[in-house]
């Protein structure tokens, strides 16, 4: 017989993995809800998943590629920036939705108990659909530039795992913080676009090595988006070597962020209903 004990854990509760598995169907239906609802009653529907990175690519190609002459490791600028924009768009969309997810779903978790972690994790998974769709244009670009995929393309899968871990860690951390301090919600809106310039989206990571040396370059890898973006580029561009050093650092960064995010979330979880 099931035996539930309810008492004050004062934020020291452990992550109940078994319970989380019990609620996996809820996670599935929440993700399904997000995917079904997001483009309802819009004319272009899922095309929006491509439009967003495509327009950024066009603007970046003109402004940074042509006007500013930012180097791109000898790769044509459109595919150079688009390969970076795929993970970046996913990351920024997820942070925006996941960071405010507890605020937006407070009417649910103040009425029913279920593992709260499902709420910030839902956008982390549902935005993967947009991510997959945005690959379509990448294929078009690859054909246009006659970059035929090699075995390196499979690198994308572990990179997506790192990306999901980073987004999950940041998303759950920010969502917990934003529920109590609404400043975080406003902070996300302005900080996320800035974070893009910290990642090698419009410039190559090699620029950091050139200007600041190898050590700084490695440290820079701890920002998980660095290794992920450079890895994405290497995966689709035959001439670019896989930057294992950066990816390794980014894997460490992603694991740290993931663990830290879940830990903070767990610490705050018991008071969500009281501060919402």
């Amino acid at each position: 017989m099931q035996h539930t004990i309810i008492e004050s854990k004062k934020g020291k509760g452990r992550f109940d993995f078994k319970e989380f598995i019990k609620y996996k169907d809820l996670l599935y239906f929440m993700v399904l809800r997000d995917v079904t609802v997001v483009y309802k009653q819009s004319v272009l529907g899922f095309a929006w998943a491509v439009i967003n990175p495509v327009f950024s690519m066009l603007v970046f190609t003109i402004v940074f590629g042509r006007l500013a002459g930012v180097p791109s490791d000898g790769i044509p600028y459109p595919i150079f920036s688009y390969a970076a924009l795929i993970p970046w768009t996913y990351f920024s969309n997820t942070l925006n939705t996941s960071g405010t997810s507890l605020i937006n779903n407070s009417s649910i978790f103040t009425k029913v108990y279920f593992p709260r972690l499902i709420i910030p994790l839902t956008p982390v998974l549902s935005k993967l659909v947009d991510l997959s769709i945005s690959f379509i244009l990448l294929l078009v670009l690859m054909i246009y530039y006659q970059f035929f995929p090699t075995f390196k393309i499979f690198l994308i899968l572990p990179l997506i795992v790192l990306l999901v871990m980073t987004a999950a860690g940041m998303g759950s951390w920010l969502s917990a913080l934003a529920l109590q301090y609404r400043d975080v919600k406003f902070g996300i809106t302005f900080a996320v676009p800035l974070l893009m310039y910290a990642a090698p989206v419009v410039f190559p990571a090699s620029l950091i090595m050139q200007k600041l040396g190898y050590k700084i370059y490695l440290l820079y890898g701890l920002y998980p988006l660095t290794g992920i973006i450079e890895g994405f580029r290497a995966a689709v561009i035959p001439s670019k070597a896989i930057p294992w050093d950066l990816i390794g650092m980014s894997a460490i960064g992603a694991i740290l962020i993931f663990t830290f995010g879940l830990f903070v979330f767990k610490r705050f979880e018991n008071r969500f209903a009281d501060v919402a």
């Binding site: 099931q2 035996h3 004050s8 004062k10 169907d25 239906f29 399904l32 809800r33 009281d274 501060v275």
Partner: protein
């Protein structure tokens, strides 16, 4: 231990309530205060979740040291005024919020219903919402698959099941939502006043379904409600909460009687300015009650007393006859319902000439709010008059002892009748 379903031990929940903002006298103070505001805001927001010390001024004890047990198969009611801590207690039991102190143990699969239709998304179809709402309530996809047909047919909206919920009427939404809830299959069910929604017919259906859940299947149910008739029908035992603590626990009938001891009485009427009469007699108070000597609010089908206390300028021995007290009762929409007076009775030899008690064997008013207009005559002169002065409430009660009542808004009175 064997037959206990829920064990609550010394459970408390404290909240921090906002303290008054500081006021500034000078402009300088105001500017400094304004600059420091982010710091104060941060402290205030942080304090929302800080460990609470029960001696702090701004600590509100929503639930304070509550202990009780619920046995397996028992239907326990929880009643109490607004703010008595019912909802907080339910939130603690359903793990929505963590207790400040104490421990609760629940044996068996729990489901709690603090609201129906949690997480309904207007863009999704009825069917999609059944799955979403069902999993939120703790069911698995497999369980819902198995019950889907039953859920849809109980809701009675088969035709619209593929329509987005935003096109539903509010009644349809409630039907669908309750239908999902009714098909939860828990061993312990914690339920808030979710019956207060929906049309009367569907409410009856739900009440029936709940009774089925409670009675025949031997489920343990914890039921919070304002609806005394529902509590009377469903619960064997009831807890009365007051100011976050248990006032009493016992047989439902006794507890409800005690709960109704909420005084349906007006405070002193002596201070009100009079427009008529010379105040030889003044109405001091009017008490509406379901028993003669205690303050308890009226309930349909139970005894009904209206006691009028008078104050007189005259000394007791100077009062030669019983004053005539006339009363007009109106409902809250201003309909005049009836008029009574002690002059309608021949017997005017009350022992206490300053206390007139009107006794009705059974309160025949339907549940609702009423008010009294009173007129006092002494020796054929109006000595006191007060218009729409005493509000009282009649609580829903089992007039016919069948668990059934006429639909709301279908008349003001309950009458005795037989069907031949």
């Amino acid at each position: 231990m064997e037959n206990i379903a829920i064990k609550v031990e010394h459970i408390s929940k404290y909240y921090r309530i906002g303290l008054k903002e500081t006021k500034y006298d000078t402009m300088g103070d105001a500017i400094v205060g304004w600059l420091k505001k982010p710091i104060r805001n941060f402290k205030r927001l942080k304090s929302l979740s800080s460990i609470l010390d029960e001696n702090d001024d701004d600590v509100f004890k929503a639930v304070n040291d509550v202990s009780f047990q619920v046995y397996k198969g028992e239907v326990l009611g929880i009643i109490g005024k607004n703010g008595a801590g019912k909802s907080t207690l339910l939130k603690l039991l359903s793990r929505i919020t963590e207790p400040t102190k104490g421990k609760i143990e629940i044996y068996g699969r729990v489901a709690s219903l603090l609201e129906v239709g949690t997480g309904f998304n207007p863009e999704l179809t009825g069917r999609e919402n059944i799955y979403l709402n069902g999993t939120i309530l703790g069911m698995t996809k497999k369980e819902i698959d198995a019950k889907l047909e039953a859920i849809i047919s109980f809701s009675g909206i088969e035709k619209f099941i593929e329509t987005p919920v935003k096109r539903y009427s509010s009644g349809m939404k409630v039907r669908l939502a309750f239908s999902v809830a009714a098909h939860l299959d828990p061993e312990v069910l914690i339920i808030d006043e979710v019956l207060a929604v929906g049309d009367a017919e569907f409410q009856k259906k739900c009440l029936g379904k709940m009774q089925e859940v409670a009675g025949t299947q031997g489920r343990t149910v914890l039921f919070v409600s304002h609806d005394m008739s529902a509590v009377t029908t469903l619960c064997n035992r009831t807890i009365l909460l007051e100011k976050g603590a248990i006032k009493n626990i016992g047989k439902t009938f006794d507890i409800i009687t005690e709960y109704l001891q909420k005084n349906n009485t007006t405070e002193s009427l002596l201070d009100i300015e009079r427009i008529k009469g010379d105040q030889t007699f003044m109405v001091e108070s009017i008490i509406v009650s379901s028993s003669e000597n205690t303050y308890s609010s009226a309930m349909s089908g139970r005894p009904f007393y209206i006691t009028v206390n008078l104050k007189s300028k005259l000394a007791d021995e100077e009062i030669s006859e019983v004053p005539i007290v006339d009363m007009r009762i109106e409902n809250n929409v201003g309909q005049r319902l009836f008029w009574i007076s002690n002059s309608l009775h021949a017997n005017q030899t009350a022992a206490n000439k300053k206390k007139i008690v009107f006794y009705f064997e059974k309160c025949q008013l339907v549940a609702g709010l009423y008010n009294i207009t009173i007129n006092v005559n002494y020796k054929n002169l109006t000595v006191d008059w007060l218009g729409n002065i005493a509000d009282f409430e009649v609580v829903e009660g089992q007039y016919y002892d069948t668990g059934k009542l006429p639909p709301k808004q279908q008349g003001n009175f309950l009458l005795d009748f037989k069907v031949k």
